[in-house]
Symmetry: C2
Subunit: 98 residues, 2 copies
């Protein structure tokens, strides 16, 4: 479970699952509040655990594409469950308690 530890990994995976192939700057802009350092570090962790791949593309200014691996996609049910539960949880906070 430490595979998903930290404040951002689930968010990053969720974004990548939804967006497909994405560049570093895409992620930086898409994920609200994350700093470059964090994104970089978390992506390295995810890559080490083989949940995402990192591909350098030789464009004008080089870009780097990140993508969820097939293996990483086996996490989709978990991510989805968590997202669903999050909605459920927030509905509970304001509104019908008890």
């Amino acid at each position: 479970m430490q595979v998903l530890s930290g404040k951002w990994k689930i968010h990053i995976l969720g974004t990548l699952l939804q967006g497909g192939k994405m560049r570093f700057m895409d992620l930086l802009r898409e994920i609200d509040g994350i700093a470059a350092k964090m994104l970089s570090k978390e992506l390295q962790d995810l890559e080490m655990n083989q949940l995402v791949t990192r591909t350098v593309v030789d464009t004008k200014p080089i870009t780097v594409e990140y993508e969820v691996t097939e293996y990483g996609k086996t996490m989709e049910p978990i991510i989805d469950e968590i997202a669903n539960w999050g909605v459920f949880y927030r509905n509970r906070l304001h509104g019908k308690n008890e």
Copy 2:
């Protein structure tokens, strides 16, 4: 998601889901490596988030029973998914990689 943050909450919930009503000492013994301080603190967090209930029982030395709430049980799919995935993950580490 910070509702499940920390090293122990998923473990505690999993143990309680599996064991039903459990006392503090039961949990302390069942969950390998956890210290009383941590168990106490994590249980307080879980109680605050209404995932478990705490009931003092007036036995000879008073005991305290913890139980997962109905609401907490809505987490069961997540906990299960995570547990399943954990098994899958460990199989992958030693054995058939690639």
